[in-house]
């Protein structure tokens, strides 16, 4: 249970919390998306890091290699990255449309304009 042994988990959780905090604390729509991006990216690390074994090779059976890394998390995360990119692109497109419609990308301004 050493700090070094769990380094990837500490990094993952820190990123996760930082991302989620930005989404909740920031009123700027672009900054919210940045936070969302960090939050999603931290999950990639959660999947990929445990798949790596120190000294492990690509899972191709060959003499002299006994330890293999697990390739499945990488494949899963490729899909998750595509989903993340699509979400970010859609979010940014919505922000562009919001900016055209409201003339602002600050959450407070938009709420104030809706109340009028």
């Amino acid at each position: 249970m050493s700090l070094a042994g769990h380094f990837s988990y500490f990094a993952t959780i820190s990123l996760m919390i930082a991302g989620l905090f930005i989404v909740m604390a920031r009123g700027n729509l672009i900054k919210k998306l940045v936070g969302l991006g960090i939050f999603q990216t931290s999950v990639y690390l959660l999947y990929v890091a445990p798949g790596k074994l120190i000294g492990g090779t690509a899972p191709i059976i060959q003499e002299g290699f006994a330890v293999y890394a697990n390739p499945l998390p990488h494949v899963l995360i490729l899909t998750a990255i595509v989903v993340g990119v699509a979400t970010l692109a859609l979010g940014l497109a919505l922000v562009v449309r919001i900016r055209e419609a409201y003339g602002s990308i600050e959450e407070d301004d938009i709420l104030a304009k809706d109340r009028e």
Binding site: M16, L20, V23, L29, K32, L36, F39, Q40, V43, L46, Y47, P50, P73, L76, T79, A80, V83, A86, T87, L90, G91, L94, V95, R97, I98, A101, Y102, I110, D114
Partner: protein, 494 residues
């Protein structure tokens, strides 16, 4: 392999293939026909699958002939086939209803895009129901969510954009929580196939990462199904989305998340872990009750009818989750039956409101005054559906509340009966506000000339209204399927 054996995959692949076809045709009439045909096919396939599962047990399909658990498995059992029939049936009905409403609410140049996204959303929802692979479920969930965000943003009002953005943020946080949960499960069991995870669960039962996975999945799915207090995205999204989108989402989107929750709770984690190791029984009970009362109370004060019924949806989600928290066959039956009954009732209400929006130009309470005079059929339909929301005997809503009350009495929680009845009284108030405006006021001077919605809209909506009465009297399909699905989930032989 015959075509019938391919049905589990075709049910999701045909709408998926319809999406790019509709996009490339760039013609709203052809796109409509293609997507309607795909939804019709999905409905036919779902009914066939339902019959097949009822006759000869669960159907398993190995994608690319890779046997599970190595390949992705599509698995259709009683619960899945029930949800398939619900989602694809509602899609076909909403689509055939929505043309006139769409003409009025979305610029003609965007119609083929609308149909494309509708097909994608349907693919996602059906895919969630058939998939037996945890990560595959997440991907389908995101397909349906991403297309839903765009569909909502197509609303006329600029507030639709803000609603869509908020839903995107909340929905993505929810989806990411779900992936974290699935990731932790994968780390602990080394597999993604739901049945395989369940088989390996005893070895890691009660360990901290597994309980964390359970918590992450619960929060993520609660966000997606708008369980109080994670419902903030729902009222704005339903209010500002185009009528077609509101009708479809109200009937299907949140319901499918309930399905995923049921799968994870009762098949993957097992009830002993969900309800004994974590106090989820009490948590779900409290949230359900809070939702039933708070959301229904907020609904009373709304003047926009779409928003009023959106809050009512949050309240009705409380009943659905209340049934789940009993952890008994009767309780789960109530949950599954109410998912179906609420879907057809709310689908009908939003369809009728779409007709009102078309004829009267809006659905705020001052505007719909005298609705019964200018649109008598629509007003009558709204009353019938309102009675079903309240749970009056003879309507579908009564059947689900009857099973809820039965489950509460079986569990010895008789005080819950009073709470269920009490929250139904709140529904009486908000439904009465609609009835009062519709029947006891004269129409506004400029709206006296408004006419009944076109027949192409009245017929599908009328079918659903008739459904709310039919399924209130004849419960073989709903309660029969739900009770069997519930006993399979809980592993109780019938």
């Amino acid at each position: 392999m015959t075509l019938v054996q391919q049905l589990p995959v075709l049910v999701a692949v045909v709408p998926l293939a319809a999406a790019p076809v509709a996009l490339l045709l760039r013609n709203r009439h052809l796109a409509f026909l293609v997507v309607l045909a795909a939804s019709g096919f999905a409905f036919g396939a779902s009914v066939l699958l339902w019959q097949q599962v009822a006759g000869s047990g669960p159907v398993s399909y190995a994608i690319g002939s890779w046997p599970p658990p190595w390949g992705i498995e599509y698995r259709v059992d009683r619960l899945a086939s029930f949800f398939l029939v619900l989602v694809s049936g509602m899609a076909a009905l909403v689509l055939s209803w929505g043309r006139a409403s769409l003409e009025a609410e979305i610029p003609a140049g965007q119609h083929y895009l609308f149909y494309t996204l509708f097909a994608l959303c349907l693919t996602g929802l059906l895919g969630i129901a058939v998939s037996g692979d945890a990560f595959n479920i997440f991907v389908f969930l995101e397909i349906s969510s991403l297309s839903t965000y765009v569909l909502i943003a197509m609303g006329r009002d600029r507030r639709a954009l803000a609603a869509s953005y908020n839903y995107l943020i909340m929905g993505t946080i929810g989806a990411t929580f779900i992936v974290i949960g699935i990731g932790l499960l994968y780390l602990m069991t080394g597999t993604l196939n739901l049945a395989d995870i369940a088989a390996r669960m005893p070895a890691v039962e009660g360990s901290r990462p597994v309980l964390a996975a359970l918590a992450f999945l619960t929060v993520g799915l609660s966000l997606k199904m708008a369980l109080f207090p994670l419902h903030q995205w729902l009222p704005n999204a339903y209010t500002h989305a185009p009528s077609v989108v509101s009708s479809f989402l109200a009937a299907t989107a949140t319901k499918v998340s309930v399905y995923v929750l049921l799968r994870f709770y009762f098949e993957v984690f097992g009830e002993s872990q969900v309800f004994d190791r974590l106090p989820l029984e009490q948590v779900m009970l409290c949230l359900a009750l809070a939702g039933m009362f708070a959301a229904s109370a907020v609904a009373i004060f709304q003047t926009d009818l779409k928003r009023l019924f959106a809050y009512s949806s949050v309240g009705q989600m409380g009943y659905i989750i209340l049934g789940l928290s009993f952890d008994s066959v009767t309780g789960l039956t109530a949950t599954i039956v109410h998912v179906f009954n609420h879907a057809i009732t709310k689908g009908a209400i939003f369809m009728l409101l779409g007709g009102v929006a078309l004829s009267m130009g809006g659905v705020t309470l001052p505007r719909v005054q005298g609705l019964a005079r200018v649109m008598p059929l629509t007003a009558f339909g709204l009353v019938v559906c309102g009675l079903s929301l309240i749970g009056v005997p003879g309507t579908a809503g009564f059947v689900s509340k009857w099973y809820l009350v039965k489950a509460a009495l079986e569990g010895g929680q008789w005080w819950l009966v009073f709470l269920v009845v009490g929250s139904s009284l709140l529904a009486v108030i908000y439904v009465w506000r609609v009835v009062e405006a519709a029947y006891f006021h004269a129409p506004r001077a400029d709206l006296v000339a408004a006419v009944e919605a076109p027949l192409s809209m009245l017929v599908p909506a009328g079918l659903l209204v008739a459904g709310t009465v039919y399924f209130g009297l004849e419960t073989t399909f709903t309660v029969g399927s739900a009770a069997e699905a519930a006993s399979v989930l809980l592993g109780v032989p019938r």
